[in-house]
């Protein structure tokens, strides 16, 4: 381990550490513009110059490019180095506009900071400045090339780290232009990271442009709950509105970056139709009246039909606090539930996945980055857990072999093998692959060789497209691979792991069945919208309509909210905070960002002034998280849980659900699983065996399909239309070509789709991506199979 002296302090660092990082470990921050820990050195800005006084190298050199070695004596404050850095700033500013006041970066600008620190304040060079014409890079990133200082961070991230090619460096020398060949929307779903890493105002955040300076906003550490990875973010709020989400460094989870769904999906919290005040039968009332009505309703149903006539539904996006309160409340009262999943199959799959993964050694994003063999089974990383694609790419850059078994045409920013195996074939291949027969080699060329030289294997497994027995087969497969293999589970929601651990037998489908049988008369829905992504809209509507009482506690303007008898608004993660267990079992907590309320900007439209009334809180504030509302309800019906605040919940939960709460936030849970009843699930026969029909597989895409981000207007410009994926051959036999527009009849409505073809899609499968869900509002039931008679050209 090299020992070196920096500014008189001695430090020992692991070999390969750069001097700039060694200094940072001592608390000495050497100014830098181009160096980024995730992207490495570029030596482009020359700002990190320090004096090497003694040791293997001497003179003024770049600390970001030089590895720490034994005996180095480094001075960061040597007059020579200081004056060097000062002149670097002066020449950087030669071409830089001196107008921080109109720059959106001003206030959190790295260049501004180092310029002020260097003392540069007068321009000595009288010549003209270099100027560029800006491009329109789409709805997320605003370019102002005149402010660029050529640190190359953006290109290094976009092309090297993330692997997309449509943005890069053009030209040479001081005329180098960082942009696209022509104006256009950035293709990468990680483009928002450019905003975070650009050290100047050359690339800034478009949606939050000119809203506020950094010091005006309320900021707090939070979590992204748009997929199961649980990336860490910092959220900014201004005038009762969430304005920006940025990546927050967490070396165990997301590293430095997040995806665009996580960055721009926040707008559901500012949605104009978001429920802001309690309502009974659609009429706004006060909190106390709504609660009193809910209590009266619950008591009436209980008196008439017993506690089992009340069903409780929640979902995978509810916080751990809500889930725990709900579970305790159901136990206390004897209500039916809580149901966290849509149907039995999803429940069993999720539990099985959690169990399989936890018992084989669960992997997180860091393990994926380190792996040298990655097998993706039944997951489309870009669509289901975007940041996972970046992690896979990092492994691939280090030489990992990547293969995928999924019927969808997966797109990843790297080269990989894919086979569209599905169902029986998939099971067979996995079985053979585990026994080292030719099974996988046949479908994924290079598998065998990769397996032989691999030291760390990660199998990425998702429950959406594969069936239960394939999941189990996959578990067996991984255990055959031995100790070096781990499973990286990809769930659907941010808290799916906790939901599968806390779930009893109830699912929404089983409750719906009981509603139809007349056993359940009232439904309590807590942050759940059964209409989201449902295939059985008609049936669902009938069940909900037949209920005597529907109580909804939610913050989304969802469809079930519109049908609620009693609506109680709850706080989002930005207002109430909350705990979530991510895909690798890591317990993480989010802090509240602001108090919430109706965004002031809405009042500013037209010429209205902000209302000036006397009140205790901001107007439209939803002060309570769903778990607080639940506690109050419990108290009022005489089933108090003796819980006052969050600390109490955690105390109770530690006793009751030890597997979830033994860890401190940031740690991983250990849960041996349990209660997966295999017999409960009968496997369905493949209905398309003999006929001309194709089986239907419903999938989601990156920007359309996830529940919360569906309500974010910021993502509207990038949402894809509805797409239908056909096998290439089958499609060409029928005369369909990529890009054609078709109608597919479902029941009595026709839904428009755009045709996509791929050789990877199995011939008996039709993959439907609903895209913008609005189109589907009419479809009462999505059938399991679709024949060619139901498809017509538009």
């Amino acid at each position: 381990m090299p020992r070196l002296t920096i500014d008189g302090q001695v430090i020992e660092v692991p070999p390969g550490t750069k001097v700039i990082d060694a200094a940072e470990a001592l608390g000495i921050v050497i100014p830098r513009l181009c160096y980024h820990p995730a992207l490495g050195p570029a030596g482009a800005c020359r700002l990190c110059a320090v004096s090497f006084l003694d040791g293997p190298v001497k003179g003024v050199l770049m600390s970001c490019s030089i590895e720490a070695r034994d005996g180095m004596v480094v001075s960061t404050e040597h007059p020579e180095a200081v004056s060097f850095r000062k002149q670097v700033i002066e020449w950087l500013m030669m071409n830089h506009p001196h107008d921080c006041p109109v720059c959106d970066e001003g206030g959190h600008c790295l260049l501004q900071e180092v310029t002020v620190a260097s003392g540069h304040c007068r321009r000595r060079y009288p010549g003209p400045k270099r100027t560029f014409v800006d491009q329109d890079l789409g709805p997320f990133v605003q370019q102002e090339m005149n402010r660029c200082i050529h640190c190359w961070r953006c290109r290094r991230f976009y092309q090297d780290y993330a692997g997309y090619r449509d943005f890069g460096a053009l030209g040479i020398g001081w005329r180098t232009y960082f942009g696209r060949a022509t104006s256009g929307v950035l293709e990468s779903p990680f483009s928002g990271n450019l905003v975070d890493i650009c050290p100047t105002g050359a690339l800034t955040d478009k949606p939050s442009r000119f809203m506020a300076r950094r010091w005006d906003v309320e900021r707090a550490p939070s979590l992204c709950i748009h997929c199961s990875l649980g990336c860490n973010v910092t959220v900014s709020a201004h005038l009762r509105e969430i304005v920006q989400v940025e990546a927050r460094y967490n070396g165990d989870v997301n590293g430095h970056f997040i995806c665009d769904r996580g960055r721009y999906g926040f707008d559901y919290a500012n949605h104009p139709l978001r429920p802001r005040s309690p309502a009974v039968m659609g009429e706004e009332t006060s909190w106390s009246k709504a609660i009193a009505q809910a209590v009266a309703g619950i008591e009436e149903v209980t008196r008439a039909h017993g506690p089992k006539a009340i069903g409780v539904v929640s979902s995978e996006r509810a916080s751990l606090e809500a889930m725990v309160t709900l579970s305790l409340l159901c136990e206390e009262t004897g209500w039916e539930g809580p149901a966290f999943f849509q149907d039995e199959e999803t429940l069993v799959k999720n539990r099985l996945l959690a169990q399989v993964a936890l018992s084989h050694g669960i992997a997180g994003l860091r393990e994926v980055e380190k792996a040298d063999l990655i097998l993706i089974v039944g997951t489309d990383p870009i669509c289901e857990a975007p940041l996972l694609a970046l992690a896979i790419r990092q492994a691939w850059r280090r030489g990992a072999w990547v293969g995928a078994l999924d019927p969808r045409p997966i797109e990843l920013p790297l080269t990989f093998e894919q086979s569209g195996l599905w169902d029986e074939e998939l099971k067979k291949a996995l079985l053979k692959g585990a026994q080292r027969e030719e099974g996988l080699e046949e479908v994924l060329p290079g598998w065998k060789e990769a397996l032989d030289r691999s030291r760390e294997i990660v199998v990425i497994l998702g429950p959406t497209v594969v069936d239960i027995s394939s999941l189990r087969r996959c578990g067996e497969f991984v255990s055959k691979l031995g100790k070096k293999a781990r499973i990286f589970p990809v769930f659907r929601g941010p808290n799916s792991l906790a939901a599968s651990a806390l779930s009893r037998e109830s699912t929404f489908r089983s409750l719906a069945r009981k509603i139809r049988e007349g056993k359940i008369k009232a439904l309590l829905l807590v942050e759940a919208d059964p209409f989201h992504g449902t295939k059985m809209r008609g049936e669902l509507e009938a069940s909900i309509r037949s209920l005597e009482l529907t109580i909804v506690i939610d913050y989304l303007p969802s469809e079930v909210v519109k049908r609620a008898h009693i609506l109680i608004p709850s706080a989002t993660i930005y207002e109430g905070g909350g705990s979530f267990i991510n895909q690798e079992g890591r317990l993480q907590r989010a802090s509240p960002v602001h108090r919430g309320g109706i965004p002031l900007r809405r009042n500013l439209q037209g010429n209205l002034r902000p209302p000036r009334t006397f009140a205790k809180g901001p107007p439209g504030e939803t002060a309570k998280s769903s778990w607080q509302v639940l506690l109050e309800l419990g108290e009022r019906i005489g089933k108090g849980l003796g819980i006052e605040d969050k600390e109490d919940i955690w105390k109770v939960a530690r006793e009751r659900f030890p597997f979830l709460w033994q860890v401190e936030p940031g740690g991983r849970i250990s849960w041996e699983g349990g209660g997966v009843q295999e017999e409960a699930m009968e496997e369905e026969e493949d209905p398309s065996q003999s006929s001309q029909e194709m089986r239907v597989l419903l999938v989601t895409s990156t920007f359309a399909g996830e529940e919360l981000s569906q309500y974010s207007s910021k993502l509207d410009p990038v949402r894809n239309e509805a797409r239908a994926f056909f096998n290439e051959e089958v499609a060409s036999q029928r005369g369909l070509r990529r890009g054609d527009r078709i109608w597919i009849r479902m029941g009595d409505v026709r839904v428009p789709f755009s045709v996509k073809t791929s050789p990877k899609v199995p011939s008996k499968l039709l993959i439907l991506d609903p895209g913008n869900e609005g189109l589907w509002r009419e479809v009462r039931e999505v059938s399991k199979t679709i024949g060619w008679t139901e498809i017509e050209r538009a």
Binding site: D99, C100, P101, V102, G106, G107, D134, E144, R209, F210, M211, A212, R213, W215, D216, L239, R601, L604, R609, R612
Partner: protein, 135 residues
Amino acid sequence: MIKPLIKGLGVTLKHLFAPAVTIQYPEERWEPYPRYRARHIMYQREDGRPKCVVCMLCATVCPSRCIKIVGIQDEKGDQYPRRYEIDLGRCIFCGFCVEACPVNAIGMTTHYELDGPTRESLILGLEEMMRPPRG
């Protein structure tokens, strides 16, 4: 004992015949010094738009936090405020905003007659700031 008494009476007598310092407001009006700090003014660009470039420095420096700004940008990239509000009911007329402004967009006039029937009427909008009352 008697001496200070005479001195005091002398002062009284002097003021009895000196010209009055009070003025008969509102018939007579006081002309403040030009550097006096009262009602704000927003200067204009040549094309009539406000000169402000929405840097938020005035809102930041304002100790009573009474400035609210919402900015936009035109096609050329020039930035200007869509809304700019100063709540005179809370302003303490320290003049920090004027000092902070990097483009001399905001200034203060000597117009000190600030009144209104409601709290809302004391909020100065962009239009009012660009057209200060005479006097």
